[in-house]
Every structure is written in structure tokens, then in C-alpha cells.
Amino acid sequence: MSIPFEHLQWMYETMVKIRTYEERLVEAYAEGKYPVFNIGAGPVPGEMHLAAGQEPAAVGICVHLKPEDTVTAPHRPHHHAIAKGVDLRRMTAEIYGKATGLGKGKGGHMHLFDPATKFSCGGIIAAGMPHAAGAALASKMRGKDWVAVAFIGEGAANQGAFHETLNLAALWKLPLVVVIEDNRYGISVPKALSTAVERNDARAAAYGIPGYYVADNDVLEMYRVSREAVERARRGEGPSLIEIETYRYLGHFQGDPEVYRAKEEVPGLREKDPIRRLREHLLAQGVAEQDMAAWEARAKAAVDEAFAFARDSEYPAPEAALEDVFAASEV
């Protein structure tokens, strides 16, 4: 299968954008929080789960999606949001708790909601899965060819909601693709201590649906299997399950002392960096260095602009805390 050039370009540029974004957040988040880590301090207080290293999972499937397709993401949502095309400025403003944010600055980094791209995420593990199935069911009932993609971590595949959702999606042949990002850990607990099977694609068999496994964070393989799964869903033939072996370079959250993994682990993972691998692939395909440099520059400029927008925006007024509990709220 050959991959159209514009898809390769988009995946490369988007991965660079994601990586740049996450690395920028490492710095922004650290502001004001040290020497003794204080999670409540600095311009971005609260928890922060970053996805540097996990870019292939997001771009390899979102490249096949339309704006009308739904994406639900978990607590580590930036790569999915960026790949789905969520407005980077408003997303960043949300993370900074500013009134111009996607959620008026009242949601933060785990609560990014964007009707324009049908993107949502949330902090409760596996909770987005049934919502994605519901979106898929709505699409089917309304006679659309829209699909839904639910991203979860490998830890989430042990929640009841995971199994309930797969059963009913298979039963009702819903246009749903579930992507499991196996980044080895649920916080500190390694997959082997939490999961009864070695690979979660095996669980697809329990629901009679196709299961795919993408080894070694391979974005091109992710692209291929995702295309099959998304096309199958769009044709109305039902759900699929994809597990991708991916790598989390940073802590579970920023400030994580990472006592559960060896110090050599991350440098080893970084040696197989998916962005560099795609870059080498593009070079081998004859893409010019300077073209790639231009895409990289464009990605960085978008990130710069988003952070500037967020920093310059205002905080919400205190009364905003009382709004939006009900339609036309007037608490």
C-alpha cells in the first residue's frame, strides 16, 4: 500500500507540532513549581499528563478522519486533540485556565471539548468509550457515514466500561474504532501486572471483531491498520480494535518521580523515536531537507502563537464558576 504524499507530510508535520507542544508544556508547567514541587503553583496548576513519544497513535488514525468523525480521548489528550485539528490557541488557553479557552478556562488540560472537530476527552479512565459508541450509534441511526474513534490507555482496557462497550458495539455493528495506546504503564503499574493477556488485540476475538496490533510505535503501520479499520467502520461493517505499542517519554504526570522504571528505559525508547524514523523515511523517499525544515518551522510557529495567545488572555470572572450547570443557567 502506498501512502499519499500529503498524508506523509501531514503526519510528519503534526507529529512535530505535538512534540513541540508537549515539550513547551514541560517548561511552562514547571514555571513556579520548584524547588519543592508544588502542584498548585505556577501559570498551569494541577495535574499534567503529556504524550511526547505517543504521536504515532494519534496521527496514524486521525489522518483518515473527517471533521464530522468523533474522537474521544482520555486524560492524556493533547496529541489526539492536535491530530483531530482542535484549535491550538483555544486549547492552550484552556490549559492555562483562561476565559478564551475551549471550556472558558474552567476545565483544564483533561477537559478539552470542541464541537467543531467533535473532540472530547476526560479524566475518568475508560469513560469516553461508551460515549464514542453512542456517537457511532447516533451516526448510524441518522444515516451518516461518520465514524467514532475512542482512544484509551492499556490500563483502561481492564475497566468494565471497556468490555461493555466492545460487546454492544460489536452486537450493533457500530462504526467505532477503539485505539489502545500501550505505553507499558498505567501510572506505575506495568501491563503484565494489570492485564491478563499479553496483547489487547487478543481481546477483540471475545467480541468477534477484527483486532490489530502495531508493534514498536510504527506510524506507517498505524496508518495502514487504521485505514482498514476506519474504512470498515465507514462502510457500516462494524467496530475494530487496535493496540499500538507506544512509548511515554515523560512521567505519568509532570512531577512524577518515576520510581517504577529504570533510568535507562527512556533513553532507550528515545533511540527509536518515531519522528526521526519518519523523517528518515521521507528523506529516503526523496523529500528535500529544506521542505521538511519549512514544515517544522510552520509547526513551531503554530505552537508559539498558541502559547502567546494563552498567556495574553484573561482569567474568567469568579461568577463564571456558577454558570453552565443547566441550559440558560441563572444560579
Binding site: I39, G40, V189, A321
Partner: protein
């Protein structure tokens, strides 16, 4: 032996002592082993007691609470950690429909001696669903005891009592004061009985009822108002929210004739309403003013930029005291 500990250290010590003291005690939960818990409440316990006593579970709250019930019914004393209070919601069915009712359902033949410990409350700049105070759900459910410590000393003594209690106890640990201050905590096992409130500050003019992290906010407000106005507020830490220490509540209101309840939970159908109802039933004719609630608002706890506007503050409590005393 006696040293100054934070609430987290006191909790860790209670768990350590009960693991040593009673071989039926088992800890289970997400990230409690190798990681020592996301707040480090179980730090070092895996190394000390091994993986049969300190169990890192899969990410499955319904499974955690459900298997704890099964263990408790079969001779063990499980102490489950739920990583944040709101993460208990996927397991509520097991807690409310089964743990709470098993003794009654089996007409007293089986009990469920288990503890669910969980970080509770707002004030640490957590995002949505990391700042809940839904103690009323549990207090409303017959068969559950509900405990909220407000100090390291009480946290240790109450947790030991909870583990030794024959019935399920929901033990809510206020994250805001996990590490906020230290106090002297004796080494070794000691108990603070469940169901007993504590008069933390004596006064004659008004009774303030609070628990968890709000206790300290209420105390500061009481001190400020005494300096400003000379009014002396009695401050009572309820410590156990079910069963309530009715006697201490009523005795205080009979003395002061005025009362105020402070909680960070949403106002509507929060425990403040229950306490006011109790006062109405038992001490109405002693009252010189309506009993007020200073509470969180009826909205999900918002994020950092507006969190301080959600939580009861000293200023809001002082205003409540003034309105009540000047009524």
C-alpha cells in the same frame, strides 16, 4: 515515642501498624505498591509486607471494591484505596448496593469488615473529579460509616478504629491538609472512637460544625471574629459523619443558642441540612437565630482559576457568624 507527623505519615503509620498487628489486613488499590500510592500513603509497605498483603490492582474500581467485599466475607480485612474520591463512582454499585447492605441482606449472618480510604475534597488545584466531597452519598446509605479526619493524630486513631470496625467504613482523607501541617502523634496503636465529635475550641456565642479541611478554615474564622468583635465561637469537629455524634451537637447548641455548619460539599442536600434538621428536632427552642450553612455552591467543583471562589472562605464564614449573631 512521640513525634511530629503530617496526616499522610500518620495514615501510613496506621496502615503499617495494622498490617503488623493483624494478618487478616490486606491493602489493595491502584499504584499503592511499587509507587506507594499517588500521594505516598502506602509508601514502603510493599517492601515491608510483600505483594500478598499490599496489592497493586488493575485499573478497575468496581473490581477493587467487589473483591474487597468477597475477601471481607471470607475472613480477611481489606483496606482498599481509591485513588481519588470521584474514581469511586465506577465502583458505587459494589459499595452502595452490596458492601453497605450485606449485613442486613443476610440478616446479620455476614458482615463486611472493610475500609475504603480515599483522598477527598478540594483546595489542591485539582481538575474536575479530583476535588469531590460527596460524603452525603455515603452518609445517606444505611450500612456505611463515614469518617473524615482533620488532623494527623485523629487520622491515625480513626483509621485504626475503622480497620477494627466490623462494618464497612468510608474513610475520607482531605487532600488539602495531607501535608499542610504536622502535629505530635504517638507511636504504636491507639484508637480514636468512631461516632464521637470533638470540641476543638470552646465558646458561648455560636456553635460551628465542620470537618476535614474546613475545620481549620472555621477555626481561623472563629479566631478572627473573636479579635474583631469579641464573640466566642465554639468549633466542633464532627470527625464521623455517620453515625453523627448527636449528643455533642445538641449539647453545644443548647449552650450557645446559635449554630453554623461549614462544608465544602455542594449546599443542596449536603450534610448541613441533616445537622440542621437534627438541631430542629432536638434543640429548636434553644435557638436564637436560624442555623446557616456556609457551603460549596451547587456546581461541579471548578478548576484552579476559580476554585477559591467555590470553597467556603474565612470571610464567608465570618459573614455567616455576623448574620447569625446579629439576627
Amino acid at each position: 515515642m512521640s513525634r511530629e507527623l503530617t496526616m499522610l505519615q500518620a495514615i501510613q503509620e496506621a496502615l503499617d501498624l495494622k498490617l503488623a498487628d493483624d494478618e487478616r489486613v490486606v491493602l489493595l488499590g491502584e499504584d499503592i505498591g511499587v509507587n506507594g500510592g499517588v500521594f505516598r500513603a502506602t509508601d514502603g509497605l510493599l517492601a515491608k509486607y510483600g505483594e500478598k498483603r499490599v496489592i497493586d490492582t488493575p485499573l478497575a474500581e468496581s473490581g477493587i471494591i467487589g473483591t474487597a467485599i468477597g475477601m471481607a466475607l471470607n475472613g480477611m480485612v481489606p483496606v482498599a484505596e481509591i485513588q481519588f474520591l470521584a474514581f469511586i463512582f465506577p465502583g458505587l454499585e459494589q459499595l452502595l448496593s452490596h458492601a453497605a447492605r450485606m449485613r442486613h441482606r443476610t440478616r446479620g449472618q455476614f458482615g463486611v469488615p472493610m475500609v475504603i480510604r480515599t483522598p477527598y475534597g478540594a483546595g489542591i488545584r485539582g481538575p474536575e473529579l479530583h476535588s469531590e466531597s460527596v460524603e452525603a452519598f455515603f452518609a445517606h446509605t444505611p450500612g456505611l460509616k463515614v469518617v473524615v479526619p482533620s488532623s494527623p493524630y485523629d487520622a491515625k486513631g480513626l483509621l485504626i478504629s475503622a480497620i477494627e470496625d466490623p462494618d464497612p467504613v468510608v474513610f475520607l482523607e482531605p487532600t488539602r491538609i495531607y501535608r499542610a501541617f504536622r502535629e505530635e502523634v504517638p507511636g504504636g496503636l491507639y484508637r480514636v472512637p468512631l461516632g464521637q465529635a470533638k470540641v476543638v475550641r470552646e465558646g458561648e456565642d455560636l456553635s460551628i460544625f465542620a470537618w476535614g479541611s474546613m475545620l481549620r478554615t472555621a477555626l481561623r474564622a472563629a479566631e478572627q471574629i473573636e479579635q474583631e468583635r469579641g464573640w466566642r465561637c465554639e468549633v466542633i469537629d464532627l470527625r464521623t459523619l455517620y453515625p453523627l455524634d448527636r449528643e455533642t451537637i445538641i449539647t453545644s447548641v443548647q449552650k450557645t443558642g446559635r449554630a453554623l455548619v461549614v462544608h465544602e460539599a455542594h449546599k443542596t442536600a449536603g450534610l448541613g441540612a441533616e445537622i440542621i434538621s437534627l438541631i430542629n428536632d432536638e434543640a429548636l427552642l434553644y435557638l436564637r437565630a436560624p442555623v446557616k450553612r456556609i457551603a460549596g455552591f451547587d456546581v461541579p467543583v471548578p478548576m484552579f482559576s476559580v476554585e477559591d471562589d467555590y470553597l467556603p472562605t474565612e470571610a464567608r464564614i465570618r459573614q455567616g457568624i455576623e448574620e447569625t449573631i446579629l439576627f
